[in-house]
């Protein structure tokens, strides 16, 4: 558990570094980083919005819990991988990127957690939020990530 926490912190520190400093929009604290170990996901309330916070391989991703399809609670869905089958897989089914794909519980649309993009209609995407860890606390900003 503490290992996970460390990883999460390390990962989010790296993320924090890559994000712009100072004058960032308001961040909302949503819980200690230890509550978001790799492979976990939780739905948190940020003002009036529900936001899903996912730890994908040590990187935190926050997505508004509204599916662009029919506005279902997309972040309630399971996280899986991407099924692929094309010339590069020799037209064999291949399961890849396990843990990086969110499946909406309503109609099964799949979204790439790291980009928010839908795997089927690629122009459909989830709204991403900025997320970082400050002094061991996960902070989410509703103004985009």
């Amino acid at each position: 558990m503490s290992g996970n926490q460390e990883m999460a912190e390390r990962a989010s520190e790296a993320e924090t570094k890559s994000q712009q400093p100072a004058s960032t929009p308001v961040d909302y604290p949503v819980g200690p980083a230890s509550d978001f170990p790799p492979g976990s996901h939780r739905i948190v309330q940020v003002r009036t919005q529900e936001v899903g916070v996912f730890n994908v391989n040590g990187n935190l991703h926050a997505l508004v819990n509204v599916c662009p399809h029919q506005y279902g609670p997309v972040c309630d869905g399971p996280v899986g991988g991407e099924m692929r089958c094309n010339a590069s897989t020799g037209w064999k089914f291949q399961w890849s990127r396990d843990g990086e794909i969110l499946i909406c519980p309503w109609h099964g649309l799949e979204f790439d957690l790291t980009t928010g993009r839908c795997l089927a209609p690629k122009e459909m995407r989830l709204r991403k939020c900025k997320v970082n860890v400050v002094e061991g606390e996960v902070r989410v900003s509703l103004t985009g990530g």
Binding site: M83, C85, N86, G108, L109, E110, A120, P121
Partner: protein, 377 residues
């Protein structure tokens, strides 16, 4: 200004008809058929038959009595007759498909079906394809024997006048798209020959031809072709044919076009939900349709307001994906004039009436038009 009665809507534009039918009686094919099946065709040639209904050759499983008062039963027996009739209709080029062998896929005997497909293709090339006649041929695929059929496509690829591959669709089991047919599709793609799906009304125990509950031919005719095209389109998509054969061009005939948006939208919708089961479809099904598929007009959907048909076409790509077909000489053929009432721009009309087909089947601009261009230049 004098009006040429047969060219009202299409005057000055090339008219290519991607679905006309040759009368392929067993006695015509017999001399071209390998032994021992030539013997079968000779017997069939002497057997009594009904129009487009010959047991063991064209088993339509017709359940209906002849319509009181009769019904049209035209057939065309010679290339000259076909040429004359197309001239009268104002059609420059026609792509020849069979009459009886529209029911070919229902024949269960593999050796017989293979020999019959060879005989049809030999006969077609020997008797019907003549340079300058404007009659082009589709090599008949044999779904009963995909490996042999692939060789047959290779054999005829490059034969002058052969511009496509006919996929017998009525009663085909399993449907086109099943992986056992991959050799046929691979050969067609390699030969750069578009494939043409053509069905016909048939009552058969295979999906979706179990239409025996319909009391009359009205019901079976309305259902038959359209359900066949819908089922085959979905089958072709569900095994990823357009993704696996990205250069394959696929033409759907004789079901009108109004069914197309319905299936397209349903596939797009369920592609979202079941993408993991069809991961080879890396784009929406409609994207593949807009890139690799064409839809023939006949039998023209005839809404009271013709504008509604044009709007319906627009959903799947409109004039770019639509081909004129007459289905001459069959009972529900469409005269090119039938499309005159559609509110299309001249450019859209040119594409649908012939220019799309010229590009798709790689046909030359007919002399009457290239000459005209020279005159006006």
């Amino acid at each position: 200004m004098p009006v040429q009665s047969n060219r009202v809507a299409s005057d000055g534009m090339v008219v290519v008809d991607c679905d006309i039918h040759v009368n392929d009686l067993p006695e015509f094919l017999a001399p071209h058929c390998e032994m021992p099946w030539r013997k079968s065709l000779e017997i069939l040639g002497a057997a009594p038959r009904r129009y487009l209904d010959i047991p063991g050759y064209a088993p339509s499983f017709g359940l209906h009595p002849p319509i009181p008062g009769g019904h049209s039963a035209r057939s065309v027996n010679t290339p000259q007759a076909m040429r004359d009739e197309l001239d009268a209709l104002g059609i420059d080029y026609g792509i020849l498909l069979p009459d009886h062998l529209l029911l070919f896929a229902t024949l269960p005997n593999i050796e017989y079906a293979t020999a019959l497909s060879h005989a049809y293709n030999r006969w077609l090339v020997a008797q019907w394809i003549q340079a300058g006649s404007g009659l082009y041929g589709a090599i008949m695929a044999c779904p009963q024997n995909p490996e042999d059929s692939a060789k047959e496509i290779e054999r005829y690829a490059g034969t002058p006048g052969i511009c496509s591959v006919y996929l017998p669709t009525a009663g085909v089991d399993p449907l086109w798209g099943a992986r056992r047919y991959d050799p046929i599709l691979a050969a067609a793609e390699a030969a750069d020959l578009p494939v043409i799906l053509h069905s016909v009304t048939v009552t058969s125990p295979v999906f979706p031809a179990q239409i025996n509950q319909f009391e009359n031919h009205f019901g079976r005719q309305v259902i038959g072709h359209a359900f066949s095209m819908m089922a085959n389109l979905v089958s072709i998509m569900h095994t990823g044919v357009p993704a696996r054969y990205p250069k394959l061009k696929i033409v759907f005939t004789e079901a009108g076009v109004s069914w197309v948006p319905c299936m397209m939208w349903r596939m797009d919708r369920y592609h979202q939900e079941y993408r993991r089961t069809v991961p080879f479809l890396e784009e929406r099904p409609s994207e593949y349709m807009r890139r690799q598929m064409w839809f023939a007009t006949q039998p023209l959907d005839e809404p009271v307001n013709p504008k509604h048909l044009v709007e319906t076409m627009e959903h799947y790509g409109g004039a770019d994906r639509t081909l004129f077909a007459s289905d001459w000489p069959h009972h529900d053929f469409d005269h090119p004039r039938g499309l005159a009432k559609l509110p299309l721009t001249q450019e859209q009309r040119r594409k649908i009436m012939g220019e799309n087909a010229l590009g798709l089947f790689k046909l030359p601009m007919p002399n009457r038009l290239s000459k005209r261009e020279i005159h006006s230049a």
